[in-house]
C-alpha cells in the first residue's frame, strides 16, 4: 500500500462550531489509495516538531479530495485551525489499517462519541445505506455532521449528555436497546476510551462483532518508533503492546485490553 508525504492544497476550510473545523484537501493519489478509518499525520505549523494524527472523514475519489474534521484541543490544532482555503498542508498518509475488516459484513451500526464521529462517516457510506448511526455529543452545540449521516444511513439516533438534542443520555443506552431488538452484524465505534470500553462490553454481551478506533500520542505515525503503544491481548490472552499507528488505529474490540 502506497504512502505519501507532500504539500497539498486546502480546497475548503470551514467551521462547524466554535471549536470544530472541517477541511478538504486536494490530494489525488492519497485519496485514491485511502480506506475508511485510516488517518493522516499533519504538520500544523513550522513551530511544532511533531505532526498531529487526524482521521479521514470522507474520501472523494471523483474529485480527488479527502475531508477531515478536527477539534481545537491544544496549540497544534489551534494553529491548524488558522489555515485557509488556498494554503498548503504537509500531510503524511494514508496511514493505519482502517475499518477494512468491515468489508466482510453486509450491514452495520456505527457508534460515535464527540470528535470520534467524523471517521465513521466514510465507514457508513461504504455500506450503501445498510448502516445505522448512533451519535453522542455533550450538548446540541457540540453536535456535528448529523445531516451528513442522515444522507448516507438508514437510521440516525442522536444522544446528548444534557438532553439538549435527541435522546437524553449516552450512546450505549440506545445501542443496548438496538442490540436487544435488532442486533446488527457488526459495530464500528470511535470516541472517548470509556465509551469504547462500554460499547465493546455490550457487543460482547450480545455476541456481536465490534471494531473500535483507538487514539494514542504519536511520533513517526508509520510504525517505526514504537511510541504509540496500546494494550492488547495476544492469542493466549496475554497482555502485549500493539501500536496504534500501524496495527490500528482500528482494532477488533476483543483484542483490546481496555
Amino acid at each position: 500500500m502506497a504512502v505519501y508525504q507532500d504539500d497539498f492544497p486546502i480546497v475548503s476550510a470551514e467551521k462547524l462550531s466554535d471549536t470544530v473545523f472541517d477541511f478538504k484537501v486536494s490530494c489525488p493519489q492519497l485519496a485514491s489509495d485511502a480506506f475508511p478509518g485510516q488517518f493522516i499525520h499533519v504538520i500544523c505549523s513550522a513551530e511544532k516538531l511533531l505532526r498531529r494524527p487526524i482521521s479521514i472523514c470522507e474520501i472523494d475519489k471523483t474529485n480527488s479530495t479527502i475531508r477531515f474534521v478536527f477539534e481545537q484541543r491544544g496549540e497544534g490544532t489551534r494553529l491548524l485551525s488558522g489555515k485557509k482555503a488556498g494554503d498548503t498542508l504537509n500531510i503524511l498518509g494514508p496511514l493505519g489499517k482502517g475499518f477494512t475488516a468491515l468489508y466482510a459484513y453486509d450491514s452495520a451500526v456505527v457508534v460515535g462519541g464527540g470528535i470520534g464521529v467524523p471517521p465513521l462517516l466514510e465507514v457508513a457510506k461504504s455500506f450503501n445505506g445498510a448502516c445505522d448511526a448512533i451519535l453522542g455529543f455533550r450538548n446540541s452545540e457540540a453536535a456535528i455532521l448529523i445531516d451528513d449521516f442522515f444522507d448516507v444511513c438508514g437510521d440516525v439516533s442522536v444522544t446528548t449528555d444534557d438532553g439538549s438534542l435527541g435522546t437524553h443520555g449516552f450512546v450505549t443506552d440506545v445501542l443496548r436497546k438496538r442490540l436487544e431488538n435488532d442486533p446488527p452484524q457488526v459495530i464500528a465505534a470511535c470516541g472517548p476510551t470509556i465509551m469504547l470500553k462500554n460499547v465493546a462490553a455490550l457487543a460482547k454481551m450480545y455476541n456481536v462483532d465490534c471494531y473500535v478506533s483507538l487514539e494514542e500520542r504519536m511520533g513517526c505515525g508509520v510504525g517505526a518508533c514504537l511510541v504509540c503503544a496500546c494494550r492488547t491481548r495476544d492469542e493466549n490472552g496475554d497482555i502485549k503492546h500493539s501500536h496504534v499507528c500501524s496495527d490500528g488505529p482500528v482494532f477488533n474490540a476483543e483484542e483490546v485490553a481496555f
Binding site: M1, A2, V3, Q5, I43, K48, L49, L50, R51, L92, E216, R217, M218, G219, C220, G221, V222, G223, A224, C225, L226, V227, C228, A229, C230, R231, K240, H241, S246
Partner: protein, 304 residues
C-alpha cells in the same frame, strides 16, 4: 567531478556518512515504503535485547519546543527474532547494518552480541545509554569503570567492529569516551537522549507514564555538537555524531566538530525524507566549496 561522500569507520565502508538513528527508524521496513533505504549510508536498528521486551506503558512521548521526550523503554522482539525476521530484509539492501544492543546485565549484553556472530550485521552499536529502563542501559554508561568493564566483556566476543553509544547525562563525557576507547571500542557514537520531564498542569501528573524520558530533536543539537567536539578532541577512534540533526547544515557543523559520520533520528518524524535531503545538501555543499571528499570536513572547525 562530484565529491566523494564515502567514509570508512573502523574498517566498515559507508557510501555516505548519513545513518538513521536507533529507535527512530525501526528495522528500515517502514521508511522503505517512501524511498529505497539503499540510499542511506547505514541504518542503526532499534535497540535489541537478548529476550523480547514489551517496553513501558503509554504515554511514551511528549512534545517540547523543537524537541520531544520519549520513554519507549526498549520495546523490541529480542535478538533471535531480529536475526530471523528483520535481518533478511535489511540484507537485501545496500546500507550498512548496525545492530544496536542493550541489556539488563553484562551477561545479557555478551550473549546478545555473541548471537550476532556469523550474521550479516556489519557493525555493533553498544547501547549503554538508554535512560528509559530501570536496570541496565544507562547504569552501564555513566561511570568510566563500568563503561570499560562492559565494553571489554563485549569486545571479547564481538566479531564485528564495536561502536559504543554514550550518554550525555554525565558530568564529563570525555571520561566515558576514553574508557570505551581504552577497553577496545572501535568507534564511539553520541549523544543518546538527555533525561527530561514534562508535567500536565491539568492533571498534576507527568505527561510520560515513566515520569521521565529522553529528550531529542533540534533543541538538543547545540549540546550534542559541543559534546562531539569535546570527545573528538580526546579520542583517536572515529566519532559518530548525533542529536538534533535535521538539516544538511547541522550535518556539516557536526562533521566540522569532529564527527566522521552522523546519525539522524527525530527529524524523520517531521519529514520522512530528512536523511535524503541531508545527503543531497552535503553533496552540494562539498561540490560548491571545492572539497574532494566528505572526510576533509571531519574536525575542520578552526577554534578561536
Amino acid at each position: 567531478m562530484s565529491a566523494d561522500l564515502s567514509v570508512n569507520i573502523a574498517g566498515v565502508e559507508f557510501k555516505n556518512p548519513v545513518i538513521t538513528a536507533s529507535g527512530t527508524f525501526g528495522f528500515g521496513e517502514e521508511y522503505n515504503k517512501f524511498y529505497s533505504i539503499s540510499l542511506l549510508g547505514g541504518i542503526s536498528c532499534k535497540g535489541t535485547t537478548l529476550y523480547p521486551r514489551e517496553g513501558n506503558p503509554p504515554v511514551r512521548i511528549a512534545e517540547t519546543p523543537m524537541g520531544i521526550l520519549n520513554s519507549v523503554g526498549l520495546q523490541n522482539p529480542g535478538v533471535d527474532e531480529f536475526i530471523d525476521r528483520h535481518l533478511p530484509f535489511l540484507s537485501q539492501h545496500d546500507a550498512v547494518i548496525i545492530a544496536n544492543i542493550a541489556g539488563s546485565t553484562e551477561d545479557e549484553y555478551v550473549e546478545a552480541v555473541r548471537r550476532l556472530n556469523g550474521t550479516c550485521v556489519d557493525m555493533v552499536e553498544l547501547n549503554i545509554s538508554c535512560p528509559n529502563v530501570k536496570e541496565g542501559g544507562v547504569a552501564f554508561g555513566t561511570k568510566p569503570e563500568s563503561v570499560e568493564k562492559i565494553t571489554s566483556a563485549v569486545k571479547k566476543v564481538c566479531e564485528q567492529p564495536l561502536m559504543v553509544k554514550l550518554t550525555p547525562n554525565v558530568t564529563d563525557i570525555t571520561e566515558t569516551a576514553l574508557a570505551a576507547e581504552a577497553a577496545g571500542a572501535d568507534a564511539v557514537s553520541l549523544i543518546n537522549t538527555l533525561t527530561g520531564m514534562r508535567i500536565d498542569i491539568k492533571t498534576g501528573r507527568p505527561v510520560l507514564h515513566n515520569n521521565i524520558g529522553g529528550m531529542s530533536g533540534p533543541a538538543v543539537f547545540p549540546v550534542a555538537l559541543r559534546m562531539v567536539w569535546q570527545v573528538a578532541n580526546k579520542v583517536s577512534i572515529p566519532v559518530v555524531g548525533m542529536g538534533g540533526i535535521s538539516t544538511w547544515q547541522n550535518a556539516v557543523e557536526m562533521l566540522l566538530a569532529g564527527a566522521s559520520a552522523i546519525q539522524v533520528g527525530t527529524a524523520c518524524f517531521n519529514d520522512v525524507f530528512a536523511p535524503l535531503k541531508i545527503i543531497d545538501g552535503l553533496r552540494k555543499y562539498l561540490d560548491e566549496n571545492g572539497y574532494s571528499s566528505v572526510s576533509e570536513l571531519t574536525g575542520g572547525v578552526e577554534i578561536w
